[in-house]
């Protein structure tokens, strides 16, 4: 990444079981994920200078990162919880790098863990849009479905094409023993699934899942002393459409165009350098919007790109190689960073992308409200 004193790496990733984890508190899911990520890196809690978190969506507790620090029995120099919804997963990496650049520490853990399935899922079903309750607008799927309808109207994406997003990510999940949904689905399964909010049926929507995931960020110098090959943070970009979704001038666009532009510029790369993508796929329309806004394909063409198999393992641009939010786990995005790191290390077994050098992670949150992009690479990947 340009404009920095030194280079930064992700050196450890970890996660708990996904899906339904009764008996594990939100705290436990964060702590177990961080401890797993530390072990993956060959580090211990004694090495930690920072603990950063995205707050659990289901209950949004106050002062969350300090609680996790306590549960790890560490007293960090760097602590904080950022509120960018799904984009936080990358926003926190940017914050960690800033802190390390300022000399406040060297090793920072970033985590998310929540138990909305065994706990409460009310937050996902709440009314949206101020006085949305009298309008009958409840639930996250309904709001995304409004964006999907508009995008389909503007650019011609079809319901069948959205089905291929669900089928592709499910196929990848079928190769992932930690995925919540591993049974492959057919287009008929997709089209016959019950309606949630037209144009979305059940298989357009990610599940509500329990689980925790974490990663460890440090300097290149420290990374080279550790257990596994460092994965380099090559670029980060953010852009946030903000606004209540239905009032936003362009409801059906995301922040990906601008956050991608900033990220590719900071990495000195183009879309042609990317070997695979891990895209925040809370609903099937989102990867379609994202690939188009990044410029991997022209607007209106991502549905066909999926339909033609280009995003499958072995295709031109494998996407969501672990199954994504749609099939691996509905956790809001932290798992995508873990998967990108594992792919670049070559740890993914039957779902391994062949010799990848560069992976892209797209994170977004709210109702296409926030967006962040990150490019990761192996050492020497695409001319550092």
């Amino acid at each position: 990444m340009r404009n920095k004193r030194q280079r930064y790496c992700i050196v450890g990733v970890g996660n708990t079981a996904y899906g339904h984890t009764p008996g594990l508190s939100q705290t436990a899911l964060n702590v177990l994920a961080i401890r797993a990520a530390l072990e993956d890196a060959g580090l211990t809690t004694k090495d930690l200078h920072g603990v950063l978190t995205k707050a659990p969506t289901s209950t949004f507790p106050r002062m969350w990162a300090p609680q996790i620090a306590e549960a790890l029995r560490v007293k960090p120099n760097i602590v904080g919880t950022l509120d960018q919804a799904g984009a936080t997963n990358i926003g926190l990496i940017q914050y960690a790098i800033s802190c390390i650049e300022l000399g406040q520490g060297e090793v920072v853990a970033i985590a998310y863990g929540d138990n909305p399935r065994t706990g409460t899922r009310e937050n996902y079903a709440r009314a949206r849009g101020g006085d949305g309750a009298v309008a009958g607008l409840f639930g996250t799927p309904s709001s995304y479905a409004l964006a999907a309808r508009r995008r389909m109207h503007e650019y011609g994406t079809t319901k069948e094409q959205l089905g291929h997003v669900a089928m592709t990510h499910r196929y990848h999940a079928s190769l992932n023993p930690n995925a919540v949904y591993q049974d492959p689905i057919t287009l008929d399964d997709y089209l016959n699934a019950r309606w949630v909010a037209e144009p979305f049926g059940l298989l357009d929507c990610c599940p509500v899942s329990d689980g925790g995931a974490a990663y460890i960020v440090t300097t290149e110098a420290r990374a080279k002393e550790l257990k596994k090959a460092p994965i380099y943070i090559r670029g980060i970009g953010q852009s946030h459409p903000s606004w209540e979704f239905f009032r936003r001038p362009d409801l059906a666009a995301s922040g990906a165009a601008e956050s991608g532009r900033l990220c590719f510029a900071s990495a000195g790369m183009t879309t042609a350098d990317v070997d695979f993508c891990e895209i925040y796929d809370c609903f099937t329309i989102v990867p379609v919007i994202t690939l188009e806004e990044y410029g991997f394909v022209p607007r209106g063409k991502a549905g066909a790109f999926y339909q033609e198999g280009h995003t499958r393992l072995g295709g031109k641009l494998p996407c969501n190689t672990s199954g994504g939010l749609l099939s691996e786990t509905g956790m809001p995005g932290t798992q995508l960073v873990c998967e990108a790191v594992r792919q670049l290390r070559g740890e993914c077994g039957v779902r391994q992308v062949k010799n990848p050098a560069v992976g892209l992670v797209s994170q977004q949150g709210g109702i296409l409200t926030t967006h962040a992009t990150m490019l990761l690479s192996v050492e020497g990947g695409r001319l550092q």
């Binding site: 849009g129 309750a133 508009r150 949630v196 909010a197």
Partner: protein, 147 residues
């Protein structure tokens, strides 16, 4: 209000619990609906209409907002048909349509479209239809302009 359609043939018993908290800021809007008209804030400096209410203009920042009655007609910007029951009060209406309406005055509104005789489409012209809950409360829905 002769142009505005006020209907109470459907049963909205209990819908009061779906209403937002009435505050000093939003009271004129809800009072307007109860009196059979749609009101929006209009900026005395730049002339823009806005919703939801604020003490200042989102566009220019001036603190010269006044409430005015509007026609509130518009076009469908997007819509969904809701099949998942999120609230027991909505059960009699399942499945129901929720639309984002681009009002001619400028603001976009979220509103239910209840009892549709045929499916709507993006770009369709729609008109307001105020639904009465009780003597003090009413809320905004939309119906096709040609109904």
């Amino acid at each position: 209000m002769n142009t505005m359609n006020t209907m109470s043939t459907l049963n909205f018993d209990g819908f009061g619990e779906l209403f937002p908290e009435i505050t000093e800021l939003n009271k004129p809007y809800w009072d307007g609906l109860a009196q059979g008209e749609v009101r929006l804030q209009k900026c005395g400096a730049c002339g823009k209409y806005q919703y939801p209410a604020e003490t200042f203009c989102y566009e220019c920042g001036a603190q010269k907002m006044a409430w005015v009655k509007v026609a509130a007609e518009g076009t469908v910007y997007s819509f969904i048909v809701v099949h998942q029951l999120y609230h027991k009060l909505l059960k009699p209406f399942m499945p129901y349509t929720v639309a984002i309406v681009q009002m001619d005055e400028g603001p976009r509104m979220l509103a239910a479209m209840l009892g549709l005789k045929s499916p709507i489409a993006i770009g369709d012209r729609v008109k307001p239809c105020i639904r009465v809950v009780d003597n003090e409360r009413a809320f905004l829905t939309y119906v096709p302009a040609n109904e």
